[in-house]
């Protein structure tokens, strides 16, 4: 064995990723994209409400039989739930640690201060907190029924959705959250592309258009449900 020729052992891959700001941003980008994919599927599912209770409730039932006969009742759903919780936790923990670091790195403000970054960019942290709180309320409302207004009935999502959006606060919370989501995705999707090294000068316009399109699509798609209930299109 050669002596002392290999003295600089590098840390393991997970250690390198988690200890580095670039690596932690990668964790944020990947977990964010996983959540984004889920949101697109979730929005498409939500829009089935416009085809009536039969379609919507059947879709909810199908979600629980997904993957049968390999997967038993709700197995696939639980796999997705566990994956999403992991993504939310990874995203939030990275965001918290990176934000702490960022704030420490700029302890004194300029006397002559002017905000320049776009609204979406400046509100990523508060937007993220709003979305986190929303997810908690949303699950307690429509998954567990704990804070649901009126009688929550499992596997009857059509009526449950109408109950929620028949209250003024249900509409306010939901629409605020989907608007926050739009802003978050607008900066987040494009940022994720930069973090993963996909962005370059030629692709920049396409990536920005894609981010804005996704943000608009998700906000409009999700907001259409409470608006549908409010206007009586869904009843």
């Amino acid at each position: 064995m050669a002596l002392a020729t290999r003295t600089d052992r590098r840390p393991s891959l997970p250690r390198t990723v988690w200890d580095s700001t670039v690596g932690k941003k990668t964790v944020m980008a990947v977990s964010g994209l996983i959540m984004l994919l889920y949101l697109v599927a979730h929005m498409i599912g939500n829009l089935k409400i416009f085809f009536g209770p039969g379609d919507f409730n059947h879709y909810a039932h199908w979600l629980r039989t997904l993957g049968a006969p390999v997967m038993r009742w709700e197995w696939t759903l639980w796999v997705v739930r566990v994956g999403l919780v992991a993504a939310v936790v990874a995203h939030a923990v990275s965001a918290y640690q990176l934000s702490r670091r960022d704030i420490r790195a700029r302890p004194s403000k300029y006397v002559h201060n002017k905000p320049r970054a776009s609204y979406a960019t400046r509100t990523m942290r508060w937007g993220g907190i709003i979305l986190g709180l929303f997810i908690v309320w949303h699950i307690l409302d429509l998954t567990t029924g704990t804070v649901h207004p009126g009688g929550y009935e499992h596997l009857h999502p059509y009526q449950n959705v109408i109950d929620t959006f028949s209250t003024w606060y249900g509409n306010v919370i939901y629409i605020t959250a989907v608007v926050a989501l739009g802003f978050h995705v607008r900066h987040g999707f494009w940022s994720a592309a930069q973090t993963l090294g996909v962005g370059n000068a030629t692709r920049d316009r396409a990536l920005k258009t894609c981010a804005n399109g996704l943000a608009l699509l998700l906000t409009a798609g999700f907001a259409s449900v409470p608006i549908g209930v409010m206007t009586g299109v869904v009843s």
Partner: protein
């Protein structure tokens, strides 16, 4: 021109600083911003006061020594260095705020002078190539494709002034580090250290206490040399590649 200056005065790195107000008269529109400060300092010296300390060296916009945040903009309102900023960019009677670079990794030494040696340590950690000593090699021995040469040169323009850090709301040095990494990583001369360079420089950047990148784009707007924002994405790509390929 008659101007009101509000300048950050701080005796040393341990003292508390504050903005002090000064009036300067007889400023020509053709003076550079630093010449205007020289005028102020001459007056202060005559009055027996402590002159304002600020960094400067070549005054040609190529050394990266000057470092002032003028009215909230790193290097002032024009896309150039403070030494190449002229008083014609201001109006007679203006009030101008002059502050040092603000970042935890750039502590204030005195007044407007900050310690930027964190950048030197980032360079030391990987901003070099291993080249044989002796006479210069024949220039055509190592072909470099034109687009690669252009890409390298675009990043080699970085003068390490630190405006990117000063402008960043997170005090992040990602644009500086990416300029240095991209400059060498794209060239065949930089290939032997391609992976270790980006890993080590990012590690050193983090160790110096710079913040992370949130893609606000302030750095690229402030950069007097026009290092583009996609440089950061290019370095991220190199970093991700290096984590997979680095020999252990």
């Amino acid at each position: 021109m008659k101007l009101t200056l509000r300048v950050w005065r701080q005796q040393n790195s341990d003292a508390d600083g504050a903005m002090s107000t000064y009036e300067v008269d007889g400023i020509s529109a053709d003076m550079s911003f630093l010449e205007m400060l020289d005028t102020l300092n001459e007056e202060l010296i005559v009055k027996g006061e402590d002159p304002v300390a600020f960094d400067h060296d070549c005054r040609e916009g190529i050394c990266g020594a000057c470092s002032l945040v003028i009215n909230g903009d790193a290097h002032g309102p024009e896309r150039t260095t403070t030494c190449q900023l002229h008083m014609r960019s201001f109006e007679d009677g203006d009030t101008i705020d002059v502050e040092p670079w603000r970042a935890a990794a750039f502590p204030v030494i005195k007044d407007l002078v900050v310690d930027r040696s964190a950048f030197d340590r980032i360079i030391q950690s990987g901003g070099y190539i291993s080249a044989p000593t002796g006479s210069a090699p024949e220039a055509h021995a190592t072909p470099v494709p034109k687009p690669d040469a252009d890409f390298a040169f675009e990043h080699a323009e970085c003068i390490g002034c630190g405006a990117c850090v000063a402008a960043c709301p997170n005090g992040s040095a990602m644009l500086f580090t990416s300029a240095k990494v991209n400059h060498l990583n794209v060239l065949p001369q930089g290939a032997p250290e391609r992976e270790t360079r980006v890993l080590d420089m990012v590690t050193q950047m983090d160790a110096e206490g710079f913040g992370g990148c949130t893609l606000t784009g302030e750095c690229a707007t402030a950069c007097p040399k026009g290092i583009p924002l996609p440089s950061i994405a290019a370095m991220n790509k190199e970093w991700l590649r290096a984590t997979r390929k680095a020999r252990r």
